[in-house]
Amino acid sequence: MENLIKLYAVLLFLTGLAFAALSWETYQSDILIHHPRMSSGIVLGVLPVLFFFWVAGFFVLHRRHKSQLATEGSRSKQMEEVHRLKKALDSEAVERAKELANSAQTLQAILEACPAAVIVMDQQAKVEIWSRAAERIFGWSAEEVIGRELPIIPTDQREEPERGAQREFAEGNSPPVELKRLKKDGSLVDVSLSTAPLRDERGEVNGTIGIFLDVTEHKRDEHQRQVHAEELQGTNAELNRREKIMRSLLEDLQGSKIRLEEQSRALQKAYADLQSTQAELVQAEKIGALGRFSSGIAHEVKNPLGIILGGVEFLEKRLGKDPDTHTALKMMKDSTLRADSILRGLMQFSRPAELKKEKVSPEDLVEKTIAMVKYLAPVRNVRIQTDYAEKGLMVEVDKNQMQQVLFNILDNAIDAMHEGGDVNIKIFSEKDPDSGDPRCIILIADTGEGISIENQRKLFEPFFTTKRGSRGTGLGLSMARMIVENHEGRLILESEEGKGTTVRITLPLLKGGIARC
């Protein structure tokens, strides 16, 4: 257009020039009028119209040219904008390309650095990417495998290579699985495989990425761990076994300890018993010796006593008519007999009289003994109470001797209560703690003055007496104990000064008798 306008302007200028030249010629020489082929009027009439049209055309063209120029100006602005944008885009693209290159490099670096083998498969199950680690782990170089089928699936799984590959690169993310995969040298390698699908911009799966981690070391470690664990288990089991043994040993030890303690207790008891037995033995030996000694004395004394008694009886016969003489002789005879009774008591230590055992009820024995003191007790303001909780108990004893024992104890009890008091007698049965045999117990308790500990030690010694004057021989309790022991029984005395004394007589309960234990 611009060129057209230029052309038009040149043509207009040339036309104008031609018109001016013609006009100038006409005017100068009147050519036109004298020109044969044209009249000057026509020339003068046509030429302005032509000129007009030329000018009008020029203006029209010029205007059009101007509008065209304006349009072209805006277009060039647009073009500039487009250029700018293009430039910007280009720089952006360069930038992106750089970034992309960087990313690619980063990715490449990651692929290079990643210790796990990264393998990308396309949809046709052909290898697309084969990382450095893949080369290292499986032995094949990237050039050898890219574009080919995955070579790492063991031969026995290759029957359906596609399926194998699909199995290898299952769709979707899958948790790591442990597999054995083939190496180039034909050996197998333990790998842990994780897969993920690759998608295009439309989100459609166009490949799969598989990451293979060499777990040979891990497996070996695991194996070793397992071995260690087994060893540990073995050790643990051994330890458990030893612990069990130790525990059982400990239990045994504890058992032994308990047994030892029991034995120790038993020993202590035995020792105590032994001591007491020894003391009793010493006492018995003393008494025995004393008995033998007494027996000797008794024999020697008995003869003179016999002479005195014979003499007294002779005099009684001859001089007894005088009352005073008779009384004097009677006193002499009584004293002689009392001396004799002491001797008899002494002699019993060396030779316990033979027992004339018979079945009796302990209640009867007690009752008969009580009858012997029934006139004495009220005088001393002593009440005798009995408690025969168990009826029908029977013992086999020498009635006279046992009554002598009971009388002795009862007499002592009454003597111990100068101000009066109570004597409580109980009869019951119980099992012997040692032998378990049934025993009959006779308890005689008084509320008297009691016996001092010092005197308690001497109580059973012959001739020990606290009874002043002629009342005591000092043989009563020791004889009582001896008699009870001759009956395979026991006589124990417990006393507290100011509170009273309790005598406990234990006798074997007759087997035919009722034994409610």
Binding site: K302, L305, I307, L309, G310, G311, F314, K317
Partner: protein, 127 residues
Amino acid sequence: MLKILLVDDEVDLCFFLKKNLEDVGGFEVSTCSDSAKALTLAKQFQPDLVMLDVLMPTFSGPEVAEQLRADVRMRNTPVIFLTAIATEEETASKMNFVGGQFVVAKPVQMGHLLEVIYQAVKSGSAK
């Protein structure tokens, strides 16, 4: 009259026993304080009953009794042993008849002795 031979080394005892037996029982009593002479005396005296102390020098009472039994005439003569070894309780509990023998514990009380003499004579006459 019942003739009693009393053999005991205690001379004084023999004296009083003799007196008492004569006074109380009205017996004819001969005493001997030497056991060695007892047999000879017995043969002369021919007692109806012999009383022997058990423990005596030379011969004990049982030995004297043995000697007496060796004599046909005194084989069945009852013997009473007098002893200070046994107590009255012991002898009494056996009715004064210990080991086939009549035994009386010393010191002898007349009343008691008379009873045993009666029993012994009765048993002797039964033989």
